[in-house]
């Protein structure tokens, strides 16, 4: 076994860091301003799920043996990379919030997921332009599309499961 090469993309606090920080701040303001629809624990669950799933994929396919991309300035894991994962949380919550707020019917869920997957790929493309992601070893942006389909679908399944548990608990209490 040999250790992977460490790539250095830049060494300054610049556009990729600002892009992440600004998006995170926008996300936090959004979550704070949106009317309470869920309990604190539900809110935390939905926020954490997106951070968890983002971290899962990034720490699986962006490290050896796959090593398909690097995040931010270095191949190594930095604090800014962790902030990038935190950025996923509010947008994952927004995805669930809109689904719940507008009572999107289950039969339209595939269209909803597809639209969000397209938005996610677009955001990734923009982020890549700002230097947040650096593709390696033949990785292309369209490889991310099925990953987003999976993460968005699983997020919605989690929401449906938790809502059904809430309803059955309320029925039991009666």
């Amino acid at each position: 076994m040999s250790q992977p090469l460490v790539n250095i993309y830049d060494q300054q606090f610049n556009q990729n860091e600002w892009f992440t920080i600004i998006l995170l701040i926008i996300g936090i303001i959004l979550v704070w301003k949106l009317k309470d629809r869920f309990s604190k624990k539900e809110l935390i669950t939905y926020l954490l799920y997106s951070v968890f799933i983002g971290m899962f994929f990034d720490h699986t396919i962006s490290i050896v043996p796959f090593d398909y991309y690097d995040v931010n300035d270095l191949t190594l894991y930095e604090f800014m990379d962790f902030i990038t994962y935190l950025m996923y949380g509010p947008f994952g919550y927004l995805y669930i919030y809109i689904f719940d707020r507008f009572k999107v019917k289950t039969k339209y869920a595939p269209i909803y997921i597809l639209l969000w997957a397209l938005v996610s790929v677009t955001m990734e493309h923009i982020a890549r332009g700002f230097g947040v992601y650096h593709y390696k070893n033949g990785y292309q942006i369209y490889y991310s599309f099925p990953i987003y389909l999976f993460t968005l679908t699983s997020n919605l399944c989690l929401y449906k499961f938790l809502q059904s548990k809430k309803i059955s608990n309320q029925i039991c209490k009666k």
Binding site: M1, K40, K41, V51, F52, I63, F66
Partner: protein, 150 residues
């Protein structure tokens, strides 16, 4: 063979977690599972990628076993531990749960080494034990904070 072994262990962990009586509610379990996995992933990446104290397998098939271990087996073991710790009131039972969980996690680490998924490069099992104790302590503190949200 390694993937089958770890998939089987993951299955057993899931079954055990499913059948035990739980001291935490469903939201607490999900929150803790996500948080524990985030801590474990960060821990794993910093030690192997940044500090280079542990070297991971380069084989994709064996790496899948490592991912199963990191994302299912370890977090679910810890979650089972937290649920049992919340359930038991007697100090002796709590101490027993801590010891058994630590033993299982150490055996898991030894299995990961034995199957060649990782190689220590300046790391050792004693550091792993300390690492696991820190993770278990952080997890226990997270439960206390979560309970305050109720």
């Amino acid at each position: 063979m390694t993937v089958s072994l770890f998939a089987f262990i993951a299955w057993m962990t899931i079954i055990i977690f499913s059948v035990i009586r739980k001291g935490l509610n469903i939201f607490e379990n999900f929150i803790l599972f996500f948080l524990i996995t985030i801590v474990v992933i960060n821990n794993f990446t910093i030690i192997s990628l940044n500090l280079k104290l542990i070297e991971n397998t380069f084989r994709p098939d064996m790496f899948i076993s490592l991912v199963i271990n990191r994302n299912i087996i370890i977090p679910l073991c810890i979650l089972t531990f937290l649920n049992l710790l919340s359930l038991f009131k007697e100090k002796l039972k709590k101490i027993l749960v801590v010891i058994i969980t630590l033993l299982i996690l150490v055996l898991d680490e030894l299995l990961v080494i034995w199957t060649g998924l990782i190689v220590y490069r300046g790391w050792n099992i004693y550091l792993s034990i300390i690492n696991l104790l820190v993770i278990l302590t952080i997890s226990t503190l997270l439960v206390k904070e979560l309970k305050k949200l109720s």
